[in-house]
């Protein structure tokens, strides 16, 4: 076991889970406060030290300043979240691989079944309280975090294959879709940060 890798993996998993959390549901008031002055802000600052993350972090912080100006910033961000991920399938960015990768553009297409097949092999299932198709971005990221932790001090082929075969094929399409929506830009920043992180991550593995 490579303890260095083990430490890095813990951080990687945490970041994947963090992105999964942000894309699972809206931030409540308390969670949002952590990004104004707390662990959230610290994390953003820390990430910004990496050159490739600087730009998206800047966008996230600027969006936070924008929403801070309104009476209930958490609602403003909730409206942004809805606009991007929950309502308009055309102008928004539905967080499902099927929408981007299937011919029909419908929900629950092959990417959903592929995820189910992966989970089945592992004896896993989507938590029924999060009643979403299995190709939801947050489910993929959550699962990836789990894979990384399972790997402990190494980086398995399974992990790499999952990133390459299940996440990367639609990641860019999804993130581009978010950029077409104009609102505070918080989630667009998060998505760009996520994309930069994943791309850097896979590059680091392959290096």
């Amino acid at each position: 076991m490579d303890t260095d890798i083990s430490v890095v993996n813990e951080s990687r998993a945490s970041l994947y889970w963090w992105f999964a959390t942000l894309l699972t549901k809206e931030l409540d008031k308390e969670q949002l406060a952590l990004y104004f002055s707390g662990e959230g802000l610290q994390l953003l600052d820390q990430l910004a030290e990496e050159a490739v993350f600087e730009k998206p972090v800047k966008q996230i912080k600027s969006a936070l300043l924008t929403v801070l100006a309104v009476k209930q910033p958490e609602l403003e961000l909730a409206a942004d979240f809805s606009e991007l991920f929950l309502t308009d399938a055309k102008k928004g960015a539905p967080p499902y691989a099927s929408v981007y990768l299937s011919e029909t553009g419908q929900l629950f297409e092959q990417p959903h079944h592929d995820m189910l097949a992966i989970f089945k092999k592992q004896g896993l299932a989507v938590d029924p309280t999060f009643n979403e198709p299995a190709d939801h971005i947050a489910i993929q990221l959550d699962y990836l975090g789990n894979l990384i932790i399972q790997d402990g001090g190494e980086v398995s082929e399974t992990q790499v294959a999952f990133i390459e075969e299940s996440v990367l094929p639609w990641l860019g399409l999804f993130v581009t879709a978010t950029t077409k929506v104009s609102n505070s830009g918080f989630y667009q920043g998060i998505c760009q940060l996520m994309q930069a992180f994943i791309e850097q991550d896979i590059a680091a593995i392959k290096a």
Binding site: V8, S11, S14, W18, Q72, T87, T104, H112, F130, I139
Partner: protein, 821 residues
């Protein structure tokens, strides 16, 4: 595989991220059942029954139910409904409304941001608004009575759920009539004693055996029989097939009186009597004139079975105020049929046994009461009412009317009314002088002109000052007329609540949007064959409700729970217990004549077949003895003249059928100089009203450049330099839309068709904005048929169109609420 040691990751304080990370989304799976190819289940729909293979929690394929020999291709659209990206996935509230409630900026309705709320919060908001309305205003402020074609299934019938739960809270405004047959169902009880539009008709075998001529008056059987109110059986198509053969063998003549060549005419290879749009009454009057002048009509029948012929004659003969004799020559100038052809038509239908089958299109126009009434007068003059294969019907195109009824009882429905009305939370019944019931199509008038007094069906009513609308399984932003007028009205509403499974335009213009699941995500049962009562079909849940959607039963149970009346609402029963109870009650009702298996067997088999019914002739009993089997009219006889209506003193619906010029009419009629094209918005061929428009792959089988088709005549197209497949801007003073040109000479010059039910997709929320998909009700006018029915006049509509130039905007429908940026 290794990973490069990245400093930032090593230094990352994992513990600091812990508070930022939420719970995992995965869990250990329960032991899975052995792998199979899936399970076949049975269900039903307005489009018919089908079996579905469900595998891995998903509907994989759909096959028509084997008893359905003529399934509609629309079954191909079912999967697209379930898995449409237009699904409403969570309870949503319009953001502006969430922040400011009744003080929200309502001009932004239709272009607004929504936020997701929990079910608990959504129901609390819904309840709080009902509460505020009842306390701040009164029962007159809430309209929770508008209903549409819902989804099939007797337990979950959404109108019943909405009505029951809301009635447990308080009284509200309700409606009478519907958008399909508003004029017909109001006039016909005065004339023939029942609505006629929702009534069983003479059985097809008797028609095939006895009729020599069938007149299809504005009636497209083949198109419209694809869908049914309950689970459709498509049994009529067997008879249409036989009819086609009889036409080929010259045993029966079928004449379609219609401006367009219908799908039925194409299928049957039958004849057409072209007529200018909206001019059926002049044609009918001229036929009556011919029958009278040539003494071809059945005097004896009129004497025995009808009243008021002598009161009608002076009008026919030009001896009343207008001094116009309704000769074929007079009619020719209006209806475009040569006087001699009119005479010939009259002679031909009186010669032998003639069955007149009237469609609903001709009463969905201004003065729509008149052609219905006048058609009955014609049938009376022919004297064949009550004879097999003769007389008149107004419903053979609907829900397999004409397929004999078995007489078996169908399953009841979830109760619409509260069991204990005395427990209603708000007992206030003071409507402050406003009417508690309004004609269905006048609700926008209520919002725009509260307090206005209008005449309707013998009464004077005062339009209530509506502040809150509640819709469930109902899409008035499809079925009501004049979108821009609706936009104005919606600026005045304080709160709009919609329950649906898909982001219809109605949901997009709402404040609280609650996600119902589709009918295939719940257990239910239904009558198989609305009028034939062929059997009972099980509607087995195919998949669990997607996302956070819930069944109608659950949604309104949650509301009842807020009222502290959950148990009274559900009677302490679960969904499945309701299914079983409705089935058992049905077994009990049928035990004498139709023994049925126990519930378990039924649910496993999925179907109970009651067999075929006995042939039957409409109004035969009346013909046999008009005294004992009197009609339901005031006199008990056919009323050619109605004293009752005459006494109302209406201008546009008087004591007998008359011709009234329309506010807009093509072929030289009013408004045709500026807007020369008559736009018909008939029931669609590949949808059920607006249902299934969201089914993308199926929609793409008929759209043109992603837009709803407009069917136009080749000469009209050439004049405007339009080619098949071009985008067309269709407009009049009320609105504008984009549609895709389909050139077809089934449509004469001066006539175009855009089928109703095309989803409204405005560019933005502003009044007058372009509809990017092609909803014809962007162009139709919101005027009543007359003081009698106050029904929709959708088919009185003139437009102009031109080739669309420039960059076409993307279609804004079929997703969530729009946001113009």
């Amino acid at each position: 595989m290794s990973i490069s040691r990245r400093s930032f990751l090593k230094g990352l304080m994992v513990s600091s991220t812990a508070v930022l990370v939420g719970p995992g989304l995965l869990q250990v799976a329960e032991a899975a059942a052995a792998e199979t190819k899936g399970t076949w289940k049975i269900s039903g729909s307005h489009w018919g029954a089908f079996r579905a293979r469900v595998y891995a929690g998903k509907v994989q394929e759909i096959k028509a139910f084997e008893a359905d020999k003529y399934p509609t291709e629309m079954l191909n659209g079912i999967k697209g409904i379930i898995y449409s990206p237009s699904r409403i996935r969570y309870p949503m509230v319009r953001y502006e409304w969430y922040l400011n409630r009744e003080k929200s900026d309502t001009t932004k309705r239709g272009d607004n941001r929504f936020i997701r709320v929990t079910w608990d919060e959504a129901i609390s908001l819904f309840h709080a608004e009902l509460e505020r309305m009842q306390t701040q205003y009164g029962p007159w402020a809430i309209h929770a009575g508008s209903t549409g074609w819902r989804s099939t299934g007797q337990v979950h019938s959404c109108g019943n759920h909405m009505a029951r739960a809301i009635a447990m809270h308080g009284y509200t405004v309700n409606k009478v009539g519907d958008y399909s047959t508003g004029a017909g169902q109001t006039i016909m009880p005065y004339v023939l004693g029942t609505t006629e539009v929702y009534a069983q008709g003479t059985s097809w075998p008797l028609i095939l055996k006895n009729s020599k001529t069938i007149v299809l008056w504005g009636n497209d059987l083949v198109k419209n029989l694809q869908v049914g109110w309950n689970c459709e059986t498509h049994e009529s198509f067997e008879y249409l097939e036989q009819l086609k053969e009889k036409i080929a063998n010259k045993e029966i003549r079928v004449i379609s009186v219609d401006p367009v060549v219908t799908k039925t005419q194409d299928y049957l290879n039958s004849e057409q009597q072209y007529i200018n749009p909206q001019t059926d009454v002049p044609f009918m009057l001229a036929i009556a004139h011919t029958l009278y002048k040539e003494e071809l009509y059945d005097k004896k029948f009129i004497e025995t079975y009808a009243l008021g012929f002598e009161d009608f004659l002076p009008y026919l003969l030009g001896e009343t105020k207008d001094k116009v004799e309704k000769t074929p020559e007079w009619a020719e100038t209006i209806c475009g049929i040569k006087a001699d052809d009119i005479r010939e038509f009259a002679r031909s239908i009186v010669k032998e046994r003639t069955q007149i089958m009237v469609g609903w299109s001709i009463q969905r126009q201004q003065h729509g009461e008149q052609p219905y009434w006048m058609a009955a007068v014609l049938a009376t003059m022919l004297g064949q009412i009550g004879l097999p294969g003769g007389g008149i019907s107004y419903a053979h195109h609907y829900s397999s009317v004409g397929v004999s009824s078995t007489g078996a009882a169908g399953p009841g429905g979830f109760p619409r009314n509260p069991d204990k009305p005395q427990n209603r939370i708000h007992k206030n019944q003071d409507f402050k002088g406003y009417s508690s019931t309004i004609p269905v199509a006048r609700w926008i008038d209520c919002i725009l002109e509260p307090g206005k007094k209008i005449q309707t069906n013998g009464a004077t009513i005062t339009l209530p000052d509506l502040k809150m609308m509640v819709f469930s399984g109902c899409n008035p932003w499809h079925h009501h007329q004049d979108r821009n007028n609706m936009k104005k009205a919606f600026h005045k509403l304080e709160t709009v609540v919609s329950v649906d499974f898909t982001w219809t335009a109605t949901c997009r213009f709402s404040d609280i949007v609650l996600p119902a699941c589709t009918q295939w995500e719940r257990n239910d049962l239904d009558l198989y064959g609305s009028y034939s009562a062929r059997g009972i079909i099980a509607m087995q849940k195919l998949v669990d409700p997607l996302f956070q959607s819930k069944t109608d039963f659950e949604i309104f149970t949650l509301l009842a729970r807020k009222l502290g009346q959950e148990k009274d609402y559900t009677r302490g029963k679960t969904e499945m217990q309701w299914v079983e109870e409705l089935y058992s009650d049905c077994v009990e009702s049928n035990k004498a004549n139709f023994p049925m298996p126990d519930f378990k067997t039924f649910w496993k088999e999925g179907f109970v077949d009651f067999g075929k019914g006995k042939d039957w002739t409409r109004q035969a009993d009346f013909r046999e003895d008009p005294e004992i089997n009197a009609l339901g009219t005031p006199s008990g006889f056919i009323e050619i003249f109605s004293r009752k209506i005459d006494r109302y003193g209406y201008k546009e619906c008087q004591g007998h059928p008359m011709w009234f010029e329309k506010s807009e009419r093509s072929h030289g009629g009013p408004g045709s100089d500026k807007h020369p094209i008559w736009l018909q918005s008939c029931h669609p061929n590949k949808r059920l009203h607006s249902q299934m428009c969201d089914s993308q792959a199926f929609r793409e089988t008929y759209t043109v450049q992603g837009r709803e088709p407009i069917y136009i005549n080749s000469d009209d197209a050439k004049k405007r330099n339009i080619n098949d497949g071009d985008l067309v801007r269709v407009f009049n003073k009320r609105g504008q839309l984009l549609a895709g040109a389909v050139i077809s000479d089934n449509f004469p010059t001066g006539v175009a068709r855009i089928e109703e039910g095309a989803w409204y997709a405005p560019l933005d929320e502003k009044i007058g904005s372009l509809d990017t998909y092609g909803d014809p009700n962007t162009l139709t006018q919101d005027i009543p048929t007359s003081e009698l029915a106050q029904a929709t006049s959708a088919n009185t509509c003139q437009v102009q169109y031109e080739k669309f130039q420039g960059q076409a905007p993307a279609v804004t429908a079929f997703s969530g609420p729009i946001e113009a940026s």
